[in-house]
Point group: C2
DNA sequence: TTCCAGCTGTGACATCAGTCACATGCACCC
DNA sequence: GGGTGCATGTGACTGATGTCACAGCTGGAA
């Protein structure tokens, strides 16, 4: 219902900025644009579900998309959150299988849908596009391997500390102390991004605060002692 | 020292059987073969280490290769074990980064090394090869997502049961009971394949036997009650 | 305002995972 | 045969993880 196509907006600039399509000529972008279907999603809406046959890939135009696995018990583990300019599900398009995980809109979002057939045709016509896809996919694979590493070797405390550090890094390079970062909308969401449950997030945040590394303020965190946080994020042995 | 090139053997048949190179003409295979460097490894020898700059990809000709992550505390988590005909490290070749995990020979093994440059050239000249690489990589990504799912939602008991079921599946489709499967060389190795330590493998194997699902016999297991094992492999809720 | 829904913080608790220590068993080599 | 080295099996224990229950807070709707 909320996935009504809209035709009045110009989606060209979006496509040109997507890493895997950079380097295409005007004409090629136009070709792609003609076939890309814009779709709008409201916050929380499902884009596709794990196990569904893969019909095509998506490019994020605005908003953010959560890629996640869910357990039969209702828990979720977020694999990545992608913002404007990111491509989603480039990979399952190729191996013919179903989507390996589900995707949902975090906030209100607009995506461009490119069908499997069109994408294939584009890749065959432009080998460099395929190579770029491989580069993007490489980054994705690295992230997954990193998640596995964290899950099998570290504790919730470690993962929470690294998560905060990652936020701080994005936030800017103000060398010294006092970096302010914004947490995900809820502890539940944060928990599913680091592979645990909300109670442990709450407890560990409090503990880090008690240890003087940070200052909680609702959904914001002021990082007071970067060094200590870094230590806490490293596996003990 | 054990990585002495050998030139007397004909490696052509191997290359032709590798999924990502299937469909190439005789001439193209010959081109590739000329540039592929055979290398031999003894059991346990390291092929490449996590973090090293990626110089090229490998094709397994004989033996088996373990891809794994290791923690600072000495624990390891095996991401995959690849046998003859598999390609290894196809992905990091493309994104310019370092190897995301380490690789070592399980048994004595022969690999064909293809340099980054040669592989790139081949992909540019043959877009279908690139597409096949993407298919292979897709499978790899699915496996990684599966590992993450198991790690974050299930217990050691579940993972051990699924592991045994996977072995049983490979072993053959003899519908009824009494499937015999071979375990990895040591419980330590099995442990690092399902993300735990050897003691828990030992205990859980014993427990599954006590519950009548299987019969231990050194490094072999006779699966007595497939249904019960399947139940044990499913997340409880 | 009041009410309600959803989120947060926390204590109590059950279970799981991992470590340490040690005894046993097995193969291989001298 | 005896010793050495390596893998296994087990018990005891510690700490991490996750569940349940409940109380308090907040923001929005009626």
């Amino acid at each position: 219902m909320a996935t009504v196509p809209e035709t009045k907006v110009n989606h060209g600039p979006t496509l040109a900025k997507v890493p895997i399509f950079s380097g295409l000529t005007e004409g090629e972008l136009a070709f792609l644009l003609q076939r890309a279907i814009p779709r709008r999603y409201v916050a929380g809406e499902i884009v596709f579900g794990e196990g569904e046959p893969c019909l095509g890939m998506y490019v994020v135009e605005s908003g953010h998309i959560r890629i996640f696995k869910s357990s039969s018990g209702g828990r979720e583990h977020v694999l990545s959150v992608d913002g404007p300019g990111s491509s989603v599900a480039e990979l399952p398009v190729f191996d013919g299988g179903s989507y390996p995980a589900s995707a949902a809109a975090v906030d209100d979002a607009t995506l461009l849908f490119v069908s499997k057939q069109d994408f294939h045709a584009l890749c065959l016509a432009h080998p460099q596009v395929t190579l770029k896809v491989l580069r993007v996919v490489g980054a994705r694979l690295r992230r997954l391997v990193g998640i596995i590493e964290e899950l099998s070797f570290t504790t919730v405390r470690h993962r929470l500390a690294s998560f905060l550090l990652r936020l701080a890094q994005k936030e800017g390079k103000r060398a010294s102390e006092g970096i302010q970062v914004a947490l995900p909308a809820s502890n539940q969401e944060l928990a599913s991004q680091i592979g645990t449950v909300r109670e442990l997030v709450s407890r560990n945040l409090s503990r880090l605060q008690a240890e003087g590394m940070l200052q909680l303020d609702g959904r914001h965190v002021l990082i007071l002692d970067l060094k200590a946080l870094e230590e806490a994020s490293q596996a003990s042995e």
